[in-house]
């Protein structure tokens, strides 16, 4: 069981990123070529830029630095690193 607050928050952030990955196809319908912010499994903001999403989050008292904000592309970039 995680008791450390930072550890719990990091786990929640990870869970939100995995949620984004799993829902990406579905997100393309409404958020294509936009940035979406996900917190605790919910889309809490969207916008045309990270700066735009940051402003919405701050207005809602949500810290962007601790929030998954991802771009929803039309197609997946492919790269062998």
């Amino acid at each position: 069981m995680i008791t450390n607050t930072l550890a719990m928050e990091l786990k929640s952030f990870e869970t939100d990123f995995i949620f984004f990955q799993d829902k990406k196809e579905y997100l393309r319908k409404d958020f294509l070529n936009k940035f979406v912010a996900i917190k605790e499994g919910e889309i809490v903001a969207s916008g045309n830029s990270i700066e735009e999403v940051n402003k919405i989050l701050e207005h809602k008292n949500i810290d962007p630095a601790k929030t998954v904000i991802e771009f929803v592309p039309e197609e997946e970039g492919i790269m062998v690193l």
């Binding site: 069981m1 450390n4 930072l6 550890a7 990091l10 990955q21 962007p64 630095a65 771009f71 790269m79």
Partner: protein
């Protein structure tokens, strides 16, 4: 001995070993990131799209390297020594000091928006961490206290 759990995440078209961590730069609040654990990357890099979620003045930082990621030219700006915090298998936090760069793509486009952060070989070497691959459970980074 401690273990830092990795997770399998899709980035740039493929499933990769990824890890979540926080970055503490100076007096700025923690920045939460997820990054690819990449033994082929010499540097630990925070993506520009990640750092844009903060007010960290990365644009005023010195440019250290121009590199290529795939066919994307990227500038690495030296953020300096930061504290990186990882969750271990027991739910505690492991702290590390690490030189961190900000990766700024020099092109526009959807691929540039998706460039990930990287935990590089520099971090693994500096802190004597190894990637352990497991058959039926999540992979992890192993280190010694």
């Amino acid at each position: 001995m401690f273990k830092i759990p990795l997770f399998s995440g899709k980035s740039l078209g493929f499933e990769r070993d990824m890890v979540t961590f926080s970055v503490k730069y100076g007096n700025f609040p923690n920045l939460f990131c997820k990054g690819i654990v990449d033994t082929g990357c010499p540097f630990t890099i925070i993506s520009e799209s990640s750092i844009k979620r903060t007010r960290i003045p990365y644009n005023s930082k010195p440019s250290k390297y121009n590199v290529q990621l795939g066919n994307i030219n990227m500038e690495l700006r030296e953020l300096g020594i930061c504290e990186l915090n990882f969750r271990d298998e027991k739910g505690d936090i492991k702290k590390f000091e690490q030189e961190v760069y900000v990766g700024i793509p020099l092109v526009k486009g959807y691929l540039a928006q998706e460039l990930p952060s990287f935990i590089g070989k520099d971090f693994l070497n500096n802190h004597s961490l190894s990637i352990i691959n497991k058959k039926e459970e999540d992979n992890y980074l192993m280190g010694e206290d």
